[in-house]
Symmetry: C2
Subunit: 197 residues, 2 copies
């Protein structure tokens, strides 16, 4: 699973035969991208990782719109994101993956109502993170963007009413030379999160 040598960026020259633990530790939200394209084989690889995700009742509610065309990426950023947060960096990312949720599964929704657990949202998180971790392994940077306008995004990518855009994941080679790359965010300690028996 080595990245295309012709597309080797700064981070992707590092070894990519990492353990899951190492890939998880390496992943940060990437907000500075090189303009060079991501090879289609790699885009397919990360989509394949998402495709294999587990989901409640195996409903696979995830849908993906892969936007590489520059004009449409501009519309994703200018019309599909909410204003008020600096998102210009997202224009540099050569791939936008709009992650949508198919909401027409009656069983899924009925069971979610009964159990009080909104399974399709959880499933979207699982599948999207498969994509993110597979991309990280290939030396690609990613960023989950949730501050979106679902209706505008659905119109841009032509999804039917049953598919609700949930997130956009930007994908591309990180530009480590960009100024002001923020440090990784602090995480709570396990003692704050875990009870044991």
């Amino acid at each position: 699973m080595n990245p295309d040598p012709a597309n080797t960026g700064k981070r992707s020259t590092e070894p990519t035969d990492l353990t899951v633990q190492a890939v998880i530790a390496r992943r940060t939200s990437c907000r500075a991208y090189q303009s060079k394209p991501v090879p289609e084989a790699q885009v397919l690889q990360i989509l394949e990782a998402a495709r294999l995700a587990p989901s409640a009742c195996n409903q696979q509610p995830w849908r993906f719109a892969v936007v590489r065309e520059a004009g449409l990426r501009r519309r994703v950023v200018e019309e599909g994101f909410r204003p008020g947060i600096k998102m210009a960096w997202a224009l540099d990312a050569p791939v936008h993956v709009v992650v949508g949720m198919e909401r027409s599964f009656v069983t899924h929704r009925f069971m979610a109502f009964i159990a009080g657990v909104d399974y399709p949202w959880v499933d979207i998180g699982i599948a999207g993170e498969h994509l993110v971790l597979a991309a990280t392994e290939l030396g690609l940077g990613t960023c989950w963007i949730g501050w979106i306008r679902p209706r505008a995004l659905a119109k841009i990518v032509g999804w039917p009413r049953s598919v609700q855009p949930v997130m956009v994941i930007t994908v591309g080679y990180p530009d480590d030379s960009a100024p002001g790359v923020p440090p990784a965010l602090r995480r709570k300690a396990l003692t704050e999160l875990v009870r044991w028996w």
Copy 2:
């Protein structure tokens, strides 16, 4: 990241220096477990993977209750799961990780309302799957169980009202000799899931 040699089961004797793609391809829902315990170091490792997950506004809404004590595991299965589905196999799993969601983050919920995206559920999916993939890498089997009674589970693990149980993940060494282990579930083809530009 090799498993404790003293706890090497059938699957865990296979190489664990797998790529993310290989771990994702290997993961299936495990519903037959050996009774031998999971070393605490491994439990900590998989919790650490979950801890490092990304989340909206870095709110880290996930909480974990790690249940290894046999009496309490019985209560998780008998009181915390919904009836009607065969769950006796879950009793054999030496570790139950109850995954909960802290719902007291006002900003998080306000933004979710504005954007129409229920971020904390997505975040739970991301963190839980970090745990699952890290466990798979260690040769452990896992199963996401969503058919739960949130209130009963909250009582069992003593969570405050602000923390809602969302899922239970069973963890343990797979018992590959168990009869009737179901095959991996079929996934939709990428052509059914993806639009391209």
